[in-house]
């Protein structure tokens, strides 16, 4: 209350809010409005045709499964990284901590060609795997791998602050009452970490669902087999099938809004629990 009263005395509120809202409207809201209008104009026949198209169904299913697998992988590796970075001191720790942000800063197309070259049957890691009969590049496994890379910062950066804020006394108390390390982890630490972990998973899932650049190179892009939904949107646009593209894009958009809404609820809950 006092903050509000004091803040009201500072100048520039109207001007700065006006600039913010104007820029937001022109840059973000008007373009989104175009998609909403186009989606509302779709007729039932187009929607039926899109919903029954096996190629669309295959692409949506592939996007959902690979994004899920990628987010799960990112959560596992990210959980390990966050734990180690917060709890232990080891050589290269600061470097590892900085590198976690790489997928966030590296252009997706470059991640895409680097991962493809690395995991292709002729690549540094793909060749030994190919000798074992495992193909990563140009399969759904490769798509999931690219999405593990992409989702890693989300998983680590949502868990890190929660791990840092855990009260050490609770652990000490549990240990002094005779709980072993495993019990302390499973019963004391894990319940505190789950909301943040799920938040990171959901953010990575939402990001992976719409991802294009890091996926198109490693996926191989075979219709029905390794074609993700965003790529199919692109194909439909190139074929001037604006109605089909709009239907699929609207579906993707609604899915990620739902996921991000869920993530923000989770985050609010874990913030409450932490307070």
């Amino acid at each position: 209350m006092t903050a509000r009263r004091r803040a009201a005395r500072l100048p520039g509120f109207g001007l700065s809010l006006g600039v913010t809202l104007t820029a937001l409207s022109l840059v973000v809201l008007v373009p989104l409005f175009a998609l909403a209008l186009s989606a509302l104009r779709l007729d039932a026949a187009t929607l039926r045709r899109t919903a029954a198209d096996p190629r669309v169904l295959a692409a949506v299913r592939l996007s959902l499964t690979t994004a899920f697998a990628g987010a799960a992988g990112a959560s596992l590796v990210g959980g390990l990284l966050a734990w180690v970075l917060v709890r232990y001191r080891f050589p290269l720790r600061r470097l590892v901590d900085a590198l976690v942000d790489l997928p966030f800063a590296l252009p997706t197309a470059i991640a895409g060609i680097a991962l493809t070259t690395l995991w292709a049957p002729t690549g540094w890691l793909g060749r030994p795997l190919a000798a074992l009969g495992v193909n990563v590049a140009f399969t759904p496994l490769g798509i999931a791998l690219a999405l593990v890379f992409l989702g890693l910062p989300f998983a680590v950066r949502t868990l890190q602050p929660v791990l840092e804020s855990l009260d050490p006394e609770v652990e000490d108390a549990a240990a002094s009452l005779g709980a072993g390390r495993r019990d302390v982890f499973l019963r004391v630490l894990l319940p505190e970490l789950v909301p943040a972990w799920l938040t990171g998973f959901t953010l990575a899932f939402a990001r992976g669902l719409g991802e294009y650049g890091s996926v198109v190179f490693i996926s191989g892009n075979l219709p029905m087999r390794t074609e993700v939904a965003p790529l199919l949107v692109m194909t439909k646009l190139e074929q001037y099938d604006y109605a089909g593209a709009t239907a699929l894009a609207a579906l993707l958009l609604v899915l990620s809004f739902v996921l991000l809404f869920a993530a923000s609820r989770l985050q609010a809950r874990s913030a409450e629990a932490g307070a």
Binding site: A3, R6, A7, R9, L10, G12, F13, L15, S16, T20, A23, L24, V27, V28, V30, P31, L35, L37, L80, L81, W83, L85, R94, A98, L99, D101, L102, P103, A105, L106, P107, T108, A109, I110, A111, I113, A114, T117, L118, W124, L125, F149, E171, A175, R181, R207, G210, E211, G213, P230, L231, V233, M234, L237, Y242, A249, L252, L253, F257, L260
Partner: protein
């Protein structure tokens, strides 16, 4: 911080195992792709590397990317500083809605983001008539590339500045105001210098993302060589033509920018931590 009491930590062999697993994961997932970019870029030697960068099409792509960044950054800074001030220093009804709306581009697939501008300016676009009446070409030309990049990068500066400005409070600004400073003077002399590192990181991240945006730009660019290809699109073309070392040579420029961004973030966070521990 260094001396964890035994009750709260794991046996040494567990710790060593976990650290080893973490380092291995980082090596495979992050370090190898990064090393590969530079190894492939220099595979045919330094002269070939430099030649790939000096190709007219590479230079044209660099120029277009620089142009996009040069238009996008000032808009992001003005909007981001405005958002930082309005949302970081004031409370008002509907504030959380505005914050969520600023985040919306994060939720949109890059391909869908590009598509929005096809729907606005394409064959059946809502603004097609208006743009044609003015004699402008937007789609499959630099203006659409700029617009799509603006959409994608819009949240970055604001996202950094809103929490930074909020955490700094309003006392210094109020003091400046009482002493007679106007809005722009307070911004320039007090609020922005205090939030400088947040602004700088937001700027660099915005630059890296604007220069590297691929999906959205791919939809609206039209892929006209030497005219509407940005650096990432040029990389894609070279790669698809099996000119791998040239592709990675151009890619190494953007990779360097990404590395600069994460180094700056690391420095910034170290400064913040030091600031917090001081009385």
């Amino acid at each position: 911080m260094t001396a964890l009491r035994p009750a709260r930590t794991e046996p040494p062999w567990v710790r060593r195992l976990l650290v080893g697993a973490a380092l291995a994961a980082v090596a495979v997932l992050l370090v190898l792709p990064l090393a590969l970019v530079f190894a492939e870029a220099l595979k045919d030697g330094v002269p070939a590397y430099l030649a790939a960068l000096a190709e007219p099409e590479a230079l044209a792509a660099l120029k277009l990317t620089a142009l996009v960044v040069a238009v996008v950054l000032p808009v992001n800074v003005v909007a981001g500083v405005a958002a930082g001030w309005a949302l970081g220093k004031f409370d008002f009804p509907g504030k959380s809605l505005v914050v969520s709306l600023i985040d919306v581009p994060f939720a949109v697939s890059p391909v869908v983001a590009g598509m929005l501008f096809v729907l606005l300016f394409g064959r059946t676009g809502f603004l097609r008539g208006a743009v044609e009446a003015l004699g402008l070409t937007v789609l499959f030309a630099p203006p659409a590339i700029v617009l799509a990049t603006l959409f994608i990068t819009f949240p970055f500066v604001a996202r950094e500045l809103i929490p930074t400005m909020q955490s700094l409070g309003t006392e210094e600004e109020e003091a400046a105001h009482v002493l007679g400073a106007g809005f722009l003077q307070i911004l320039r002399r007090v609020a922005l210098p205090n939030a400088l590192w947040g602004l700088l990181y937001g700027l660099l991240l915005s630059t890296a993302r604007a220069a590297g945006e691929f999906g959205a730009v791919s939809v609206v660019s039209g892929h006209i060589r030497g005219q509407t290809n940005t650096l990432p699109l040029h990389v894609e073309i070279l790669y698809n033509e099996y000119r791998f070392s040239a592709a990675f040579a151009v890619a190494s420029l953007l990779t360097g920018l990404a590395l600069l961004t994460i180094v700056l973030k690391s420095v910034l966070e170290a400064r913040e931590r030091r600031g917090r521990s001081l009385p």
